[in-house]
């Protein structure tokens, strides 16, 4: 049973007003905002629009019935969380905040008529449109890989069935097998994610299949929180993890899925389990609607996250080009608040408050060993820029209590962002 409505999206009055070309009747209450995508970006935007101005009519369009978060999905792989515990309903947005939830797939944006069309043909007129579609995987970015091949070689870069598949493969592999994790070049969703994933797979292997090894075949020569991760691996999983940088032959050139073999710069490697994380672009609707640049991501005004390509359209989260901010759930949450403030002020004829952005990302090396990166950001002449002399990563030298404390804060952060986006 679903609590979403597929039809009857508009009240009869609003629909009639639109048909008769009198959108101001429907707008009398404060304006109509349609949001595409119910992840951390879209859900936070919906909640904060209602917080800042309850009279705004907010409609959230989302394809999936529930939200399986990418953050904490690595803990499912490590066996310290189950999928159920990272699966959330969006009902509180409707019940507590009056957001209209529409289950459907955004297919096209008519910028001149200010209308979003869904796959089932329904058109949703808007005064402001927030596009938060996350990422699209470029399977073709790795020769030999495909959406079909992901049934055998999971990417697990969208949480859910892919996460469960990779977990099952880890459980089924023999002790002594090799696991390959292959992260893409920048930019991509969740820069520390592949390395936290390696940590969590190592946690599982160390405890259940201690003769096994992990090989990271990286397209890059450096990665997020690198010093912290590598020091953590050395102390917690000595000899278990090998990282091969792109410059040392780590870049994947081709995959032979049938033979579970990867061809990289250094040669061929066969593995029991392969986790291939392909390159990415902005979510399909952003690309199809012409909101993206040649690089596949959407350029935005750093003050408001308004699209550079379409009036009254905002792009937030992974899909956007956000300057110094990473593609993370925290960043999307923060950008959503800025957009909500900008839209609510604009619809009320007021000046929005100065934008401030924030990002905090925790990673677990073990269940009791957390590390973090944090940053505060402001709009600048060259895009969103980090406030100098602030933020940064956890100290390189810290005792076990400190790491344990950050592991506790990892749990706290998750509960916090869930409450802040969906509560």
């Amino acid at each position: 049973m679903t609590h979403f409505t597929r039809r009857g999206l508009l009240g009869a009055g609003a629909a009639a007003a639109t048909l008769l070309g009198m959108p101001n009747i429907a707008r009398a209450a404060g304006g109509r905002v349609v949001i595409v995508g119910g992840g951390f970006g879209g859900a936070t935007a919906a909640r904060y629009l209602k917080l800042f101005d309850p009279s705004i009519e907010v409609t959230l369009v989302e394809r999936d019935a529930t939200y399986v978060t990418c953050p904490f999905s690595n803990y499912v792989l490590g066996g310290i969380r189950d999928l159920n515990s990272i699966t959330h309903r969006r009902d509180p947005l409707r019940q507590r905040w009056g957001v209209r939830l529409v289950r459907g797939e955004a297919r096209a944006i008519d910028v001149s008529r200010k209308s979003l069309r869904l796959a089932d043909g329904v058109a949703l007129p808007y005064d402001k449109l927030v596009v938060a579609p996350g990422i699209e995987l470029k399977y073709e970015g790795v020769p030999g890989y495909s959406e079909k091949a992901a049934d055998r070689v999971p990417h697990a870069w969208k949480a859910g069935a892919q996460t469960a598949l990779l977990r099952r493969q880890l459980e089924a592999m023999p002790d002594g097998g090799v696991v390959i994790v292959a992260p893409p070049a920048n930019p991509f969703r969740c820069p520390p994610g592949p390395y936290e994933r390696v940590s969590m797979i190592a946690w599982y292997l160390k405890n259940h299949k201690p003769k096994s090894k992990i090989l990271i075949l990286d397209a890059k020569d450096a990665f997020s929180k690198q010093g912290l991760f590598q020091a953590g691996w050395e102390s917690q999983y000595p000899g278990l993890i090998t990282w091969l940088a792109g410059k040392d032959g780590g870049k994947v050139e081709e995959i032979d899925v049938a033979n579970m073999t990867i061809k990289a710069g250094f040669g061929n490697e066969k593995a029991a389990v392969i986790n291939l994380i392909p390159p990415q672009t902005a979510g399909r609707i952003a690309v199809d609607a012409g909101l993206t640049e040649a690089n596949g991501w959407a350029a935005v005004d750093p003050i408001s996250f308004a699209s550079r390509k379409a009036a009254d359209v905002y792009v937030i989260g992974d899909a956007s080009i956000a300057g110094a901010m990473p593609k993370s759930g925290s960043a999307a949450n923060s950008q959503a608040k800025v957009v909500a403030a900008h839209i609510s002020a604009t619809l009320n004829g007021k000046a929005p408050p100065p934008a401030v952005f924030h990002n905090t990302c925790y990673s677990l090396v073990t269940p009791d060993y957390g590390i973090s990166v944090t940053g505060t950001y402001r709009p600048g002449p060259n895009g969103v820029a980090e406030v100098p002399n602030s933020g940064g990563v956890s100290p390189a030298q810290a005792n076990a209590d400190f790491r344990k404390q950050e592991a506790l804060h990892t749990e706290g952060w998750y509960a916090g962002i869930i409450a802040d986006a969906l509560g």
Partner: protein
């Protein structure tokens, strides 16, 4: 037990004891009036990412809503200057001017 651990694990309890927070359940997320979103009110929304909302603050995170404004401001300045050890909050506090921290502390005290 190390200094860090004291500052961390007991931080939430210490804050609560020090500032005499109001019960969480009694607080709703304070909505600014439409179109009257001040810089302080907006900046304060940033905190919710990790600290949760006034009605849903995670048990492992310090409760910041409804705190004493002066004491919270002093704490933030101490964190910023590393006079008070922290895992992450010092790094975050250094992203704001003293005036911005004061305004946020004042706003959070209104819950």
């Amino acid at each position: 037990m190390s200094r860090i651990s004291l500052a961390g694990a007991a931080f939430a309890l210490a804050l609560a004891a020090q500032f005499g927070f109001a019960p969480q359940a009694a607080m709703a997320q304070q909505a600014p009036k439409p179109g009257e979103l001040t810089e302080a009110a907006f900046t304060a929304q940033t905190c919710a990412l990790c600290h949760g909302t006034p009605s849903q603050t995670p048990p492992t995170m310090p409760l910041i809503y409804g705190s004493n404004a002066d004491q919270l401001y002093t704490t933030l300045l101490d964190l910023k200057a590393n006079r008070r050890p922290s895992t992450i909050m010092g790094r975050i506090a250094r992203g704001f001017t003293d005036d911005q921290l004061k305004a946020v502390a004042d706003y959070l005290a209104r819950y």
